[in-house]
């Protein structure tokens, strides 16, 4: 069973989601008794990065059309190279967008939002997220499969192999890109992408106003975390929509999720229940979020968060 993986990159550097997808592909290959071939577009990073996570072969493509994302062009390029039974794609904005077109081009079945390694290979049986995390669906695929892997679900586990790279070309030109990019606005340099973050510090209406987010940002910065918010806070305009986590916002699965002043409505929990560890700080002891948390403090955010900042500073040895 030949396993291929799309190793996603940004500005020439492999993304964490791409490395995680390689690690996942390696886990499949180990059980299936095969190797992993990674496909990379316009990457300047060394292929050693991918050997570290288990790619035995790296197919490097340099192509100007692929410098901007277009679902059709990406699907066509990956389809030309992925001559295997399973293709793993990270469930990023780009990956989730081109995977359906890739499946059509390969005549493969598509399984999205996969969370775990497959349980059997013939048929390919795997669990995926459903009902916004309130359920897990297990499906069995006969024949070729394209799967998208939920970010932070499997972990970018190192599993080094000896590998080799090959520069290859694909027959893609600007005519294949149906969507033309006319401008890009990226978040400020150094900001941590919410879906890739290991730690997320999130706050809700308990913060009483946007002017009080300074302590949330300070805590996040100390922890190397991304910031997030509940839906009401995004709707009022205290925080940008891009920070809204929940059923109708972003679904995230960080290693640690710290929820401050968020009661824990069922729609919010749906977006964060994939988190490995959940901490809740809320002055309402009856807040439903405590039932879904691993650790909690019943207390006022304005009292607790400054203390938490001080204790994290002590732990990190920051003055």
């Amino acid at each position: 069973m030949a396993i291929f993986v799309y190793a996603e990159s940004h500005d020439g550097k492999y993304k964490k989601a791409g490395l995680e997808a390689v690690a996942y592909a390696k886990a499949i290959a180990d059980v299936a008794g095969d190797t992993v071939t990674a496909i990379a577009f316009n990457v300047t990073d060394s292929s050693e990065e991918l050997y570290k996570y288990g790619a035995t072969k790296v197919l490097k493509v340099e192509n100007s059309t692929l410098k901007n994302f277009d679902a059709n062009a990406y699907a066509k390029a990956v389809a030309e190279l992925a001559a295997g039974e399973v293709v793993v794609v990270p469930s990023t904005n780009d990956g989730a967008s081109f995977a359906p077109l890739l499946a059509l081009k390969l005549g493969a079945s598509l399984v999205t939002n996969v969370e775990k390694a497959p349980t059997t290979f013939a048929p390919f049986t795997v669990a995926r997220k459903a009902f916004s995390g309130k359920g897990i669906e297990t499906v069995a695929v006969t024949g070729k499969a394209v799967i998208t892997l939920l970010q932070n679900s499997f972990g970018a586990k190192e599993n080094a192999v000896a590998g080799s790279e090959e520069s290859v070309s694909v027959s893609i030109s600007d005519a294949d890109a149906k969507v033309k990019v006319t401008g890009v606005e990226v978040a400020q340099t150094g900001a941590i992408d919410l879906k890739e973050a290991e730690i997320v510090v999130s706050a809700g209406r308990g913060l009483k106003g946007p002017e009080n987010w300074g302590m949330i940002e300070e805590l996040a910065q100390l922890l190397g975390a991304a910031t997030a918010s509940s839906k009401p806070v995004a709707d009022i305009g205290w925080r940008p929509h891009a920070e809204h986590v929940g059923q109708t916002g972003k679904a995230i699965a960080p290693n640690l999720y710290i929820a401050i002043g968020i009661s824990g409505a069922i729609q919010h929990l749906a977006g964060v229940n994939g988190s490995k560890t959940i901490v809740v700080i809320n002055n309402d002891a009856e807040a439903p979020f405590f039932k879904a948390a691993d650790y909690g403090i019943v207390g006022d955010a304005f009292e607790v968060v400054p203390k938490l900042i001080e204790e994290v500073k002590k732990l990190k040895g920051v003055a």
Partner: protein, 248 residues
Amino acid sequence: MKILVCISSVPDTTAKINFTGDGKSFDKNGVQFVINPHDEFSLNKAVELQEKAGATVTILTVGDASVDAVMRKALAIGANDGIRIDADARDDFFVATQIAKAAKEGGYDIVLTGKESIDYNGGAVPGLVAGLLDYGFVNGCIGLEVEGSTAKAVREIDGGKENVEVALPAVIAGQKGLVDEAALRIPNMRGIMQARSKQITVVAPEATSTSVEVVGYEKPASRGNVTLVDKDNVAELVRLLHEEAKAI
């Protein structure tokens, strides 16, 4: 301009999710169904384009007669008419095939969908429709204007957003941000009355085959009990996160 908006009928966001005794399917008992929230943003954008640019808006749903109530709500919000593909929406490819067929036959300029449904979370249908029709595809759309035969869209990317242009016809998958949350329309009495007389055309489905079988559903494991830490002992929380959870 003709717009086709694909609507999924999904359990209300507050619904408790249960599965049938054999674990093979979702238990609909006692569950309220609503327009998929991501589709609602796309529907509202379509109605906005209808008012601004004189577009006609047709909604399409794959489902049995039980989805009619949700379709009537969409019509009450302002869509002109509806198409119901009379079949169980059993998998992504099946649904996408039905939409692609209707989109081609109806000659729609824009196929608008939500980026995913909140029940099965496949997120595959919009891309599959684009692939089947060989149309341009913009996913995660948070801004859309139409100028002549070109759609100017804004799409969310990891860590930011991107302005793009796509020639029509195209498939565009919307999400929160496509219109303001506060501007989302709620059916009023006039709209509800008008919706009663709007046409829903019921169409037989196109057959497809599938090689994906649902083995079963389960609920995620419970986390167990929360460990509460006294608010005057925040140091203990940091210790637990560092030493026990190894999270910081």
